[in-house]
Each structure stands twice: as C-alpha cells, then as structure tokens.
Amino acid sequence: MKNPLWTKLRLLALVVLLLGASACGTGGAGRVAVLASWTGAEEDDFRTVLRAFTADTGIEVDYQGTRALDQVLASDVQRGTAPDVAVLPNPGSLATYARRGKLKPLDALLGPQPGFGKQWLELEKAGTGQQYAVAVKADLKSAIWYDVTNLRGARPGTWDALLALSRQLTVDGRTPWCLGMGATATSGWPGTDWIEDILLHSAGPDTYRRWAAGKLPWDSPQVRQAWQDWGALVAAPGAVRDGAPAALLTDFGDAGRGLFTRPAGCVLEHQASFVMARYLGMKRADGSTPRPGSGFAFFPFPGPEVSEVSADLAAMFHDTPQARELMKYLASDEAQRIWPGIHRGSVFSVDRNVGGVYDDVVSRQVSSTLTSPQQRLCFDASDLMPATMTGAFYRAVLEFLSDPSRLGELLKGLDIVRLRVPAGEWLDIPCGQ
C-alpha cells in the first residue's frame, strides 16, 4: 500500500539532492592556488592575466602575493601545504625545488612550444634536463641606456670603445655614468650586474657558466680583470654622478634621473629593461615625459652577441587538472600577450609570437633580443649562486666601490665564502646556448 507521507519524504529527499548537486556545481571547474612575489600594481597586472584564465576555463584562482616569497614558499613546502603553482623570481629557486623532487615536469603537458626559442626552453629546464617552468615575464639585463638628445655619434661596440667614450665624456666636462647601488636589503646588486656583464662579454659564456657554478675562483685572472675593468670605468675621477659616496647612497631606481636633467647629470646607465617603466615616470625640466625612441634608447652591452637575462618562472607543485590548465594557459600566446599589452613596453614576454604587442622601437628591440633564435642568453649569475655567495657578492661590490684598492682582499674573501658553500648548493646551468 502506498503511504502518502513516504512519497512526500522521497520527493523531499530528491529536491534536497538536486539542490545539493546544484550548490556543488557552483564550484564549477574547481580552484587553483597560486603564490607569487607580486604585490601592489604588479599584483593588479598579474590578476588581469588570472582573470582572463578564469574567464576562459571557469577555474577560480586563489592568488597570494608576498614580498617574502622565499620564506613563505619554503615554509609551505616544509609543512606539505605548497601552492599548486608558484612563480619563482629566479632560476636558482626553480632548480633547487626541482632537484628536491617538489616540482612536476611540464614537457608532456606543454608539448612543443613554437613561440619559445630553444634557448628559453633550455633555460626553463634550469639544468635539470626536464622543463619545470614557464617564463611569465623576462628582463634583458645587458643594456646601456641613454637620453637620445644627449648622446651623439656611434654607439660603442667593444669594451675599449665604451671606455674611450666614458673618458671622452669626462674630458668634455660631462659625467658619463648614472650609478645607484641602494636596494634596501639587497643593496649592491646593480654592481653585480656590471661585473657579470663584463665577465660574460670578455671571457665568454663558458667561463661565465663555470664561475656562476662555483668552479672558477673569484681570484682567477678572468674574474679579477672584470672587476678591474669596472673599476677603470666607474672609479675614475668624475666618472660617476656626484662621486662614489653618492652612488652608494642612491637607490637604483633613482640613479637614471640624471639622464633627463638639464644639463644632464649623467649620460649613460647600465640597467635591466624594467628601467623603462621608471623612465616613463620621470619628467624633464620642461615637464615633458621621456618617451622610448624619441626620448631614451639603449645599446647592447659591448662585446660578443650574448645577453644576460632574468625571468619570473611559474612552476607546478601539485599535478591537479586545474594547475595543469593554468600552466598550459600561462604558456599560451594569449596569456603571454596580456601583461606586456597592459604597459606596451617595460614588461616583456619571451614568446616571439607576441612581438606585435610592443608599439615602440625600443620595446621591440628588447623583445627581439629576448626572443631572437640567434641571440645567446645566460641567466643572471647572482640569481644562480647560493644565497650566502650572493650576499657576499653584493657586499663586495659596495666595498669595492668605496675603495677599489682593496680588490685583492675582497676577492680572497669571496673565495673563502665560495669554498665554504657545500658543493650541492651550486647550480650548473647552461649559458649562451
């Protein structure tokens, strides 16, 4: 016999089940947790990329941005609560986590990536033999910037020509170099970029690679010569704006202001491509903003065609369907185009298929250097070195700048640190492939 109450209860249960299924369905394609170092305006830009990903796939992203990325990530990994995807600010961290088996290889997931040159695919392996990362954005470091209204004549193509130009500017009563070493906790790094570039272009990628891997002593003739060359350039009287003490006290982001003063405070600045954003925020005496091409430009670091680069690298810690979708998306032309497209210069992709997004000649030149198949690339050596070595390198730059006569003592000190670092902490990453 049919019991009406029983029928009603079954109907009620069905409704509850349907409502429950519908509620679960609002999670849609699921969620993915992402950790990166970007906060403030950079976080807003990256969130634009992530919103486009959500719009494409329905997958929601839980983004956490922290300036203490290394500490937060190390702590999360240790507790077993690593994010699904983390964007690492240097290849040293990438290689370290890959070697510890914390990262998932991406070769099969991403397949062929026609937009990414083989040199980038090699760099994304960070010496591990497998692809573990996707470069979200990159910077060209081997560049010397100038105000186009202030520098006439041919651009130096060799180190000797650069030295001659610098000396001629001094003779003419102008100050050749804008220099700022200040960078809060990492003061000194702009000087390490100088040493790295000089060594890379004078001794070549193989020597640079051995040095970055801790296999070449700091006191070796090649490395010593790189320091001495830098000293000859910037420690000469009148070579640096306001002198060495001012260079120590000036933030790296402020150093280039002298390019656009009248008369010019300085004529040249060695800096990575992100400096374009800083220049675009500066004013000339007449109130105008320097524009790329008509206002400022760069020439490649003199010497053989090889460039020092840095990159923010997205890596996958958990192999979930959502994380896989995000990695595929970040590697796509569509995603690679978004961030550079927001600024139209000063943020660069390593995907050669997005070159059309840059609408000025300087940005296109940076992009071309980063993506050209003919261009040989090497990661910033101080990003590859163990943290103790990097800290000592920063410190040595500051000490050298205040007193170049102490070079021998400083190089011996650096070698003591090099020999104390356990061999397993060094990375041997291909350079100039």
């Binding site: 956490q64 700022g180 200040g182 809060t184 906790a185 001012a246 006290l249 402020d254």
Partner: protein
C-alpha cells in the same frame, strides 16, 4: 486510560484543543526566545573575550613594535654620530630592538588579520633581520676608523672609505626601516588590518540598533503570556495562574539580560575609543623619534658626501621631505593608556554570569508554562 468496550470513542473537547494549541505556541515562542537571547548574549561575550584576549593586544603591540623600531633607529644614529667606538649602536638600540622583537612575537600569537597578517609578519621578520645586519655592518666600519666625531673630514680632506661605507650601511638600515615598502610601512599596514578586525569584531556583537530586534522574541513571549492569562481569566474565571505570572516575570528578566548585554557592548565601544587614543599617542612618539633620527642621519651623511655635489638624488629627496611638527609624547601616558585599554577590555568581557541567566530564565519559564497550562488542560479531558 482506555475507553470501555462498546463505549463511543472519546474526543478531546474544543476547550482542551484550544488549551493544547496555546501551550504549544507558548512553548515554541519561549524556545525561540531562549535561542535568540542566548545567541545575542554569547555573540557579545565572544566579541568581548576575543577583543580582550587577542585583538587589542595585536593592535597595541604592532604600534609598540613600530615605536620601538623608530627609537632603535634614532638611538643607533645618535650613537654612531657621537661615540660609536666603544658602544657600537648602543644599549638603547639593543633594548629597543629586543622590545620590538617581543612585541612582534606577541602580534604573531594574537594576530587577527589571518593569512594577510601572517604574510606581513614574515616580510617584517626578514626586513628586521636585514636591518640589524646593516647596523652591524655600519658598526664594523665605524669601529675600524674610530669615533666619527674624532675623525671628521676636514675641508678638502677625503673621507676614509670605511667611514663612507659605515654611513652608507646606516643609510641602508634606515631605508629598510623608513622606506616606502620598509618595516614601518609594513607595520602600519598590519596595524590597519588589526584595527579593521577590531571594528569588525565590535560590529559583529550587538549594536544598540539591534536591541529592538533582539527584544522581539521576549516581547512576543510576554505578550502571549499576558494574553493567555486574560483568556484563562475570561474562560475559567480564575484570577491569576501563578506559574504563568512567574513565567512572565522570567521573560521580562530575559529582556533585562539582553539590555545588560548591550551595556557590555557599550563598554566595548569604550575599548575602541581608548585604543585609538593610545595609537594616537604612539604615533606622536614615533613621529618625534623619526624626526630626530632623520635629522641625525642627514647630518651624518653630509659629512661624507662631496660638499658641492651632495649625496645623490635619493638622499636629496629624503632631506626635502616635510618634518613632523611633533611634541614629545609621554611614555607614561602611553603606558597608562595601554593599561586602561586592557582594563576596559577586561571589564567588557566580565559578564558577571549573564550568559547563564538568559537560558536559565528561559528554561524556568518553559517549566512554569508547562506546569501552569497542564493544570487547566487536565480539567478538560475527553468527551464522548
């Protein structure tokens, strides 16, 4: 009791049905009153106890850490400007740094700002370590040449490289503290998060505007009880049903309990006001230390820069920044204010047992209602 065999089936009388329905309604209303009053009182007490045990501590200790770090920096600059050879950055610097470290540890324990707060604390931890490292480097360089005052570069004399580096290290340290993304800026953001959380917790309790809503259930129960009393008087010519009179009194008692809970909420608002006063006093102290530290630092730096060229654009910007026009804050005033906040938070969280009164009154009222009504219901059993 069962009806005798062959007798017609017994049906409840209409009066009995009406009385039973009235009883059910009274019990249901009283149960709602129990739930509502318990929820309201516990919500206020929960907020008060969280504020007492965590939030005020988190807010005040962040401010204390900011003040201690500003004073540490001021003390270090002053020590290096005058007598660094024997003392290094000095005992005041060491004491203030230790005090800041203790405050940050307390903030980590009492943090109410969730993952965002924890993230900022991790950044601050790293920056404070870098700060003390930079002061240590400055100490090493100044010790290498002796007291800066004793070796002031004379006109035309080039400063010693070690002195220049010592000054640069002190500058880096100060930038780590005072820079746009420096420790103090991070702590200000953290203080804002903790303070916002304090607002949320206080607003999550019972605001005066909500009292009428909370009183709806006791008012409805009291009205129903009075109505029942009137119905019984009309129907049975009984003067008073004493158990129902008692239940009515207890229902009024629940309303009074809610009003007392509101009083606790008002005391929490006092905690908020006192906290803001302490923060303002702290800010004055921080501004004084900041001004003094900046003045000392600029004086120190200019000794080592080219007199004509200056110290570069970053220092020039730093020198040009407006100074705070502050008067000295009284540490005693700040300390008394912090003690006052703690006392006010303790008072607000001291419930005097009202969280037990509301359910006790409601449960007693339930019993009295059931007792008072069952006597009438029993009089009207069944009819054939």
């Amino acid at each position: 009791m069962t009806a005798p065999a062959g007798a017609p089936a017994l049906r409840p009388t209409r009066t009995r049905v009406r009385l039973v329905r009235l009883l059910v309604l009274l019990l249901a209303t009283t149960l709602v009153m129990l739930a509502v009053s318990l929820g309201a009182v516990l919500s206020v007490l929960d907020a008060a106890r969280t504020v007492r045990d965590h939030t005020t501590e988190a807010v005040l200790e962040v401010a204390a850490a900011r003040a201690a770090l500003s004073e540490a920096d001021q003390a270090a600059i002053e020590a290096f400007r005058t007598h660094a050879t024997l003392t290094g950055p000095g005992q005041d610097y060491a004491n203030n740094l230790a005090s800041a470290s203790q405050s940050l540890a307390k903030v980590a324990e009492a943090n109410q700002a969730g993952a965002a707060g924890t993230g900022i604390l991790q950044v601050v931890e790293g920056l404070v370590a870098a700060y003390s490292g930079a002061v240590g480097q400055a100490d090493a360089h100044f010790r290498a040449v002796g007291t800066p005052d004793a070796h002031l570069p004379q006109p035309g004399e080039k400063p010693r490289p070690s002195e220049v580096l010592g000054a640069a290290d002190l500058w880096y340290a100060s930038r780590l503290l005072h820079g746009p993304d420096g420790v103090l800026a991070q702590l200000t953001a953290l203080q804002g998060l903790q303070r916002a959380e304090l607002d949320d917790q206080l607003d999550d309790g019972m605001s005066p505007g909500l009292l009428p809503v909370w009183l709806l259930a006791p008012a409805a129960a009291a009205a129903l009880l009075v109505g029942t009393q009137w119905y019984l008087w009309r129907r049975f010519r009984r003067r008073f049903n004493l158990p129902l009179v008692g239940a009515t009194a207890l229902t009024v008692g629940v309303g009074v309990t809610l009003a007392v809970a509101l009083g606790l909420q008002l005391r929490l608002d006092d905690v908020r006001a006192r906290t803001d006063t302490v923060l303002a006093d702290r800010q004055t102290g921080i501004a004084v230390a900041d001004t003094s530290g900046r003045t000392g630092l600029v004086a120190l730096l200019t000794r080592y820069c080219d007199p004509a060229a200056g110290c570069g654009s970053t220092v020039a910007d730093f020198t040009a920044q407006p100074r705070f026009a502050a008067t000295a804050a009284h540490e005693r005033k700040v300390a008394e204010g912090a003690t006052g906040v703690a006392a006010a938070a303790r008072d607000a969280a001291d419930s005097g047992g009202i969280e037990y009164l509301a359910p006790a009154f409601s449960i007693a009222a339930l019993g009295l209602i059931a007792w008072g009504m069952s006597r009438r219901i029993d009089e009207y059993r069944y009819r054939a």
